[in-house]
Amino acid sequence: MSTTDSELPPAPPPESPTDAPLTPGTSMAVRFAAYGRTALFTVLAIVTALLLGALVIIFSDPDALGAWSSFFSDPGEALSTSWQVAFDSYEALFDSSFGEFDAINRTLVEATPLLFGGLSVALAFRAGLFNIGGAGQVMVGASAAAWAGLTLDLPAVIHLPVALLAGFAGGMLWGGIAGFLKARTGAHEVITTIMLNFIALRFLDYLLTTDRFQRPGRNDPLSRPMAESARLPELPGPVPAHLGLLLALAATFGVWWLLERSTIGFRMRAVGTNPDAARTAGMSVGATYVLAMALAGGLAGLAGTSNLLGRPSFSLSGGFYESIGFDAIALALVGRSKPGGVLGAAVLFGALRSGSTGMQAATQTPVDIIVVIQALIILFVAAPRIVEAIWRVRARELTDAPQFTSGWGGS
């Protein structure tokens, strides 16, 4: 299009800088530049978090602290000891998360449920919903899968899919309730999902005391192991992980396709971004909320199920499931609610988890440092201005990415 066209009045220049048009250039280049910038900022946030994490490592290490106390007599020693401590810790962290096939395997097994959980939060968020209920959906999903895994007696080709479906359906039900309450009564999903988390938690506690579930001879909340035929088999090759990993990767693609290439995703994104316009355009906002929450719940259910059916103990237990729902929120945030981003974040967080014990064994750096690093990553992703100030890059174009932190609840 020519800008010197004299038929109509000239396109009015924007009156304020926030209206400034995109910088000139081919359209595709502009789009990729925006993506690139978002990716760059996430990487910078991670690098910043690792650098600050190094400081924490240094100042919690007795040797390094000792070297610093004699800083004025031997400054070189303080610096080199610090460097050595931080470098050794990170090296050990890397070695025991990616250093050998066995480590990669651990990382991927850790990443699998995280990936399902992150997709769950990301999907709901794109439809304008803040799914705090991952924990509850994980528990109900895992419970349903455990029921199928313990009580049914079927050949593996049928038993495993049935157990997986049960896990998906359980989570779907739990998420769908929150969606339905929002659509019908306007009850905020943050409140209802938190409440549903408590219900699910007590429900799971109860189940683990029943004869059907509880492992005979145990008093702690631990179920009998799942039937062999319901377990996720290992994959061939040097990194076996388990079949759940492939399912999670397929789910990543599926969520991407649903959001970006299907009419359902179009509707979800429209409702999530501007419910008024979506309604005016004839979209059913309520039905979209129910569907999005049900699908998100189903994905969270699979997070629990993949852990239950894929990890060596093959049993349902009380503790694990709570944390995953909240880690999932962090993953969606770091992955900017895009399936590809969530995949990257799941691998990163999986690596931090799987590498932490190796790091502690090799360098005495406490496992808890991982939590600090995770928290710092989340902080810097949520507050791009800090990264902007530290690295002297401009974050303005970031505003077109889904802004997790500003869209609390979306209604």
Binding site: M1, T3, D5, E7, L8, P9, P10, A11, P12, P13, P14, E15, S16, P17, D19, A20, P21, L22, T23, P24, T26, S27, M28, V30, R31, R261, S262, T263, I264, G265, F266, R267, R269, A270, T273, N274, D276, A277, A278, R279, T280, A281, G282, M283, S284, D400
Partner: protein, 505 residues
């Protein structure tokens, strides 16, 4: 106080917003700044009010150079601004709002009494009729604006900037405002009156400066110019404010409303037994002061609100309880009143907004799969056909100017071969060029046999487009006028609720 803007330039990334502008505001003078949306009026005023700093040029007050680093500097220098969107705390009283930021205290306690007395005195002096004790959220928009004016006067503003002050007001409120402005001027203050409405500018201003694309294109006075001349200065060519159209050749009724009643708060009818038809090939305009039930009527017709009584039929099919999507299927097209809230998903690319309510139809969808090529080709075609100015089909719609955003909606709704076209305030806030363009397209739709329902608060627009006019007042249609009856006076009387015997519906 004499405020001089001398050779000011302000650049934003990719845009020269204000280009070497010089203009002087004299005390005791109403100086109108006239220009299309995006001509640089608001930027210029933000520069004067300290919200932006100029790249080059100087501001002078009574001959002395001044530099503002923020609004507080500007206020201290005696400049006051009444923004288009008020900056009031709804739950505070008038006096509390006025004193906010310049609170006077007695031993640490707020001196509310002094503030109230001062507000009452200012209100009395300029005939503002504002009760200092009233809570702002209970006040009508016109009075809220006066609170903003009092706020500026309380801070002793000698130069008062009114930014699109009439945009939110009803015609009687506009007249009151113009009187207040005249009083403030007679009191020796410099008034800057920003507007793109020609008639008001002609009525209010002593001096007019026209801006176009960031530059001053000329200065004049109302006595030495005419609306037509000003309009051509604004857009840079002669324009005709009227629309040329052949007489309508209406066919059968497309939209039939019978006794439609919509209840609002406290079950009060906001649309009260409205009955009329819109026929194929005609434009029926609903005229009236805003807030008389037009919004709710449109919501009932488009399916966004369920009427409490009455029926709505499209081509003979009862649609009263059908969904929005059903109505679209049966040939409804809708240009909503608030384009940014209801018409577009702002962060979505232009491409997607062009199919926002067509997304599940062929060719754009095949089953659940979206056909991206069809959507792209549609976007390319419509951008060309409707001359939508955008950097690309992937640009977020919210980055477009207001006129181009509206063109996106118009392009979407006007190309779907609708049987009924519902237009709500289709040209609100747009510049003359865009208005004329949209008007031409509306007449095209009519001539193609579409039934057009136009809701507008602008009498000029109603008179320019309508074949018949239904006038609404307090939720009721007081009369449907056509032909010879379509005069400004007849419509005006009905808008005010006065029913002449021959107009009784």
């Amino acid at each position: 106080m004499r405020v001089e803007i001398d050779g000011i330039t302000k650049r934003f990334p990719g845009v020269l917003a204000v280009d070497d502008v010089s203009v002087t505001f004299e005390p005791g003078e109403v100086h109108a700044l006239l220009g299309e949306n995006g001509a640089g009026k608001s930027t210029l005023m933000n520069l004067l009010f300290g919200l932006h700093e100029p790249d080059s040029g100087v501001l002078r007050i009574d001959g002395r150079d001044v530099h503002f680093h923020g609004p507080s500097d500007a206020i201290a220098a005696g400049i006051g601004m009444v923004h288009q969107h008020f900056k009031l705390v709804p739950v505070f009283t008038v006096a509390e709002n006025v004193m906010l930021g310049v609170e006077e205290t007695i031993r640490g306690f707020l001196d509310r009494r002094a503030a109230r007395a001062r507000v009452a005195e200012l209100s009395e002096r300029y005939g503002l009729k504002v009760d200092p004790g009233a809570v702002v959220e209970d006040l009508p928009v016109g009075i809220q604006q006066r609170v903003e004016i009092i706020k500026a006067l309380y801070r002793d503003a000698q130069c008062l900037i009114l930014d699109e002050a009439t945009a939110v007001l009803t015609p009687p409120e506009i007249e009151d405002l113009l009187e207040i402005v005249a009083q403030l001027r007679d009191d020796g203050r410099a008034i800057v009156f920003i507007s793109h409405k020609l008639r008001e500018v002609m009525a209010a201003a002593d001096k007019i400066t026209v801006l176009r694309r960031g530059r001053v294109v000329g200065s004049t006075t109302p006595a030495r110019s005419s609306p037509g001349e000003l309009a051509s200065m604004m857009v840079g060519r002669d324009i005709d404010l009227t629309v040329t159209k052949a007489p309508a050749t209406p066919a059968g009724a497309v939209l039939e409303l019978a006794g439609v009643t919509v209840l609002g708060e406290h079950d009060k009818p906001v649309v009260d037994e409205v009955t009329f038809d819109v026929r194929a090939g005609e434009i029926l305009a609903v005229a009236g002061v805003s807030g008389n039930g037009q919004t709710e009527l449109v919501q009932a017709i488009t399916g966004l609100r369920v009427p409490a009584a009455g029926t709505i039929a499209l081509n003979g099919t009862d649609l009263t309880h059908k969904s929005v999507a059903d109505r679209f299927e049966r040939g409804l097209a809708h240009v909503p009143e608030d384009r940014q809230r209801d018409g577009l998903v702002g962060p979505f690319p232009v491409r997607d907004n062009l199919v926002l309510n067509l997304w599940r139809r062929r060719p754009f969808a095949r089953g659940v799969r979206i056909d991206r090529r069809a959507i792209r080709e549609n976007a390319d075609a419509l951008i060309e056909q409707f001359d939508i100015r955008t950097s690309s089909i992937y640009a977020a719609s919210e980055t477009l100017s207001g006129g181009n955003q509206q063109k996106v909606i118009i392009a979407r709704e006007f190309t779907k071969q609708a049987k009924l076209l519902v237009l709500s305030q289709p040209t609100r806030g747009l510049d003359v060029g865009s208005i004329k363009y949209i008007h031409t397209r509306v007449v095209e739709q009519r001539d193609a046999g579409c039934a057009v329902l136009l809701v507008s608060y602008e009498l000029d627009e109603v008179l320019a487009l309508a074949d018949r006019v239904a006038v609404m007042c307090e939720g009721r249609v007081l009369g449907v006028l056509e032909g010879e009856e379509l005069t400004r006076d007849r419509i005006g009387l009905l808008m005010a609720g006065t029913v002449l015997p021959q107009d009784a519906a």
